[in-house]
Every structure is written in structure tokens, then in C-alpha cells.
């Protein structure tokens, strides 16, 4: 799944979601400003949700 994302988005997503690092940590690690971290995590999350959307929706009340 993550392999299909642009490298930067996949990296941001992995650090934020799987490793649960703060945006500041991610920014420090990657040399990105916080605004970019926030945007990249969002874009990655958006794309993953677009793929997994139906499965996620099934879990809704």
C-alpha cells in the first residue's frame, strides 16, 4: 500500500501513524517545516483512506 505513495508521503505517514512520532520530530528528522509535515501526513492519509475507504466505512456505527 505505502509503496504506491510518493516516497515523501509514505515516509511522513509511516513516521506519524506507525511510529507515532510527533510532527515536530518528523520535521526534525526530515528537515521539513511543520506545515509540510502536516500536509504530507494528510495527503498520505487521504490516499490510504481512498483505497481502504469501503473497508473503513464498514466499521462505522
Amino acid at each position: 500500500m505505502l509503496e504506491t505513495l510518493p516516497v515523501a508521503l509514505a515516509q511522513a505517514f509511516r513516521l506519524a501513524v506507525f511510529e507515532q512520532r510527533s510532527y515536530k520530530e518528523i520535521g526534525d528528522l526530515q528537515g521539513w517545516p511543520l506545515s509540510r509535515v502536516r500536509m504530507d501526513v494528510y495527503r498520505a492519509r487521504q490516499k490510504v483512506i481512498a483505497v481502504l475507504g469501503p473497508a473503513l466505512s464498514e466499521k462505522q456505527p
Partner: protein
């Protein structure tokens, strides 16, 4: 980036607990009126729950409620509009937790242990569920609401009653009397937590 994406990005950061107070209030206000962004937020939360490697405790006990009560009495009030939005989100989170409990993912489908038959403190054990938020975060959000307006006590207690009813593992608290003594004048309000089983 359109207006929906702006709020979805806020929702994404909210899921990661990366919003400041003003952004949180702005987002919660918007989620209260926008189904599109609410849908994204729910999916983002579901995604986080599904992918998170570490289980998050989701156990609601008298002790947690006491901590909420204690925090709620300490700080100044927040604006009523923020409270309404936060209350809406909190109710949604609780409903979501109930839904997670009632319709767990396949990997979490182990049977949930029934509680002992004897009466005891109300305790909702969602141990097999990867809950939507940690105890500390739940306490923080809930106390924020109660701090702002004590009238939300009744609404919160009703939510808890609904949770208890939905999960079917609520137990009446026989310790409410001692709890009342411990909490002085607020003890009477805690008695409302008792749920008809």
C-alpha cells in the same frame, strides 16, 4: 486546497493530536455542521485504530470519572460554542467506542470476558478493542467540557448509561456512598452514574 481539504487536514492533525487549542475548537465547530469532513474524520480515526501497533486502553472506571471531576473543578470555563462542539465530538467518540466494542474487527474477535456477578464499581472493559483514545486524553477532553458547563454532567452520564446498556457489562456501584463522601458536594452528581441493570 479547497475548504474541505483545509478542514480535513485539520482533522488529520487532530487524529495525531497535533492541533493547538484554537485549531481544535475551529475543527470541532466545523465537524458539527459538515458531514463530509465528519466522514473523513471517522475514516481517519478508523484507519489509525486499524493500523496502530499499540493497543490503547479504553476502560472507563469510577477512578477515571473521579479524575475528570477533579480536573473539571480546577480550571476556568471555555466558551459555550466550544463546549457544544467538544460535547458533540466526545459523544461521537463514545458512540464509536461502543460500536468498536459491539462490532470488533476480525483480529479482535476474541470473546470478551463477562464481569463477576456481584455488584461493584461501574467498569467498562474494552480490553480487546483498540480504543479511539487513551484514558488521559479522554479525561482531558471530558473534563474540559464539564469545566465549562456543569450542565453537561447530565448529558455525559446519559452517554455512560447508553454505553453501559450497549455493552451489557455495566454493574451497579455499591461504592457510590463512599464515593459521595470522598467527593463532598459533588458526590450526589456521581450517583447519577449508577445504571439500572
Amino acid at each position: 486546497m479547497n475548504i474541505f481539504e483545509e478542514f480535513e487536514m485539520l482533522a488529520s492533525a487532530f487524529v495525531d493530536d497535533e492541533l493547538n487549542r484554537d485549531e481544535t475548537v475551529t475543527l470541532l465547530d466545523h465537524l458539527g455542521i459538515c458531514e463530509t469532513c465528519r466522514c473523513f474524520y471517522r475514516q481517519a480515526r478508523s484507519l489509525g485504530d486499524a493500523l496502530s501497533a499499540s493497543p490503547v486502553p479504553a476502560i472507563l472506571t469510577d477512578k477515571i470519572w473521579q479524575r475528570i471531576e477533579s480536573r473539571a473543578q480546577r480550571r476556568p470555563m471555555m466558551p459555550a460554542w466550544g463546549v457544544r462542539a467538544a460535547a458533540g465530538i466526545l459523544v461521537a467518540v463514545l458512540v464509536w467506542q461502543v460500536a468498536q466494542f459491539r462490532f470488533p474487527p476480525l483480529q479482535d474477535s476474541q470473546p470478551i470476558e463477562a464481569g463477576p456477578e456481584e455488584s461493584g464499581p461501574i467498569q467498562l472493559s474494552l480490553e480487546e478493542s483498540k480504543g479511539a483514545m487513551s484514558d488521559d486524553r479522554f479525561i482531558e477532553l471530558t473534563s474540559e467540557i464539564l469545566r465549562a458547563d456543569r450542565r453537561y454532567h447530565t448529558a455525559m452520564l446519559q452517554v455512560m448509561a447508553d454505553v453501559n446498556q450497549a455493552t451489557g457489562i455495566a454493574r451497579l456501584s455499591e461504592e457510590s456512598t463512599s464515593s459521595e463522601n470522598e467527593h463532598g458536594e459533588t458526590g450526589g452528581e456521581w450517583n447519577e452514574r449508577e445504571v439500572e441493570s
